[in-house]
Subunit: 322 residues, 2 copies
Amino acid sequence: MIHCENNSAATSMESNLASPFDLNAYLRRQSSAIDEALESHLKKYPAESQTLFRALRYGVFSGGKRIRPILTLAAGEIFGAKPKILLPFACAVEMIHAYSLIHDDLPALDNDDLRRGKPTAHKVFGDGMALLAGDGLLTEAFHVLSAPDLLGAMPAAMVLQVIHELSQAVGVLGLVGGQAFDLEAENQEVDLATVELIHVRKTGALILASVRIGAQVGGARAEELSAISHYGEYLGLAFQIADDVLDAQGETATSEGAESGHHEKNKATYPAVVGIVQARERLMELSRLCFDALAPFGPKAVALRAIAGHVSERAIKSTQNH
Amino acid sequence: MIHCENNSAATSMESNLASPFDLNAYLRRQSSAIDEALESHLKKYPAESQTLFRALRYGVFSGGKRIRPILTLAAGEIFGAKPKILLPFACAVEMIHAYSLIHDDLPALDNDDLRRGKPTAHKVFGDGMALLAGDGLLTEAFHVLSAPDLLGAMPAAMVLQVIHELSQAVGVLGLVGGQAFDLEAENQEVDLATVELIHVRKTGALILASVRIGAQVGGARAEELSAISHYGEYLGLAFQIADDVLDAQGETATSEGAESGHHEKNKATYPAVVGIVQARERLMELSRLCFDALAPFGPKAVALRAIAGHVSERAIKSTQNH
């Protein structure tokens, strides 16, 4: 459950932003480790032999910011997990994210020609090949997660638990369900509860899972997992609201979803339902809740804290004239 | 590898068909157990609350013959595995099969309006909802396979091994890869090796996996798994050739793929490349190879033997005028 309070997050955000932690350097370093691991997973498939493999790589290496797998790494590091153990899980999370974008862009759903300024996968490879590349990436995520080489480092039952949780987060009660709700809500009058439900499922569920998987792989105890799960829930919602706000303000968002022009398609967005001012207040509140949830982890949670600040900050700034 | 020899399978098929085993009764009984288990897995999702759930159920309960999950049950039973243990694996196999048909029928791929005489999922629910229903079913398959209740009956490492193998069989080196090859081969001149490669990946890989998963869950030893894997390979190829032959003869096939009108779309099919007579000879040969592979299991393999006979028999009969 996400609680609604109306306190401002500005103070804690500023104190966080004043810390010496270099978020950009951290994101670059982690993103590069993830790219290398993704490359290593995909290199077993001959890149030039089939259009499918090129489409698959196009979807994976298309300039994404790797926020979700970075969350997996950052959450795991709090509990002392080594990158080598965390990276396969981070890669699986990113493959699922990449699949969801490829399918979301298809004519059957959002029919977007551009993503991050580049032609979408189906514009380059055709609808059929893009559909298959998405199917292949989703399947490959579970292949990576079930690889025998993970078993040297952690019990098989724990890996199964991660697969179970991730498949719930991105299935019909999570990401896929959220996309279906979103599709049905197009051109409909929707209330705030519906918008939040769509956001929680479509965007929030995978972000929450990314955080929880890192913590679980790191061996978080039950109360630690619970605290970090609150962070994941608040961050997931903040992430989508920030996208919606930047989209509504006509800015290119920091995150991946925003270039899909949801405002042009009468999609259910937070600012459309409650207005920019209330959306900004909700973002500030969610930032503060993220910081509160991380309190038990002290300085170890510096990266997760900075990511939460980063997600909200630019969207909040974009609304300064309101 | 599938070995090519030119002996006729007619004798061994006839002796098999003369056995007292009632294949139709067996198929009905297993199919009904699978339907019940699928219903039980899907009932946690409220059937009427969302179009997505209706689309998903439409894809799963649309008159399929459940051949793949029946193979999982039949293979597992040889090694004494109980239906209760085998059924979740069988359900996962069928969910993946259902997803692949929904996606294959989409306008982005085969653009079929009918399957088994009924409107395809996207004709009923729209392209976007059908795409999502397929995504949801693929994801749900891995959710079912990673459920904690499987762990009472078998080691977690073995469940992971099954997930790893299944995700390979239906991924970019298996089913999805085969569909991509098939898409690229449309309207192209293809040779026999290419047709067999497409068949082995697009149809054969999941059939082989269905058989192997049953055997693995049943605790087959390495040499038993190897023997039954030969059966699965031969059967997978026979299955697709039989479909192609029936399709070319203008008959409604016994299996699910045949109503997709591949002959109208210049798809790569076996009879189109080598002719009906050679296709029939290959089917007879594959039947014999299936029976040979099952020899070590004696009477315990009666169901697998009868299924192999059933797959080839009708297609062979349809060519009697050639």
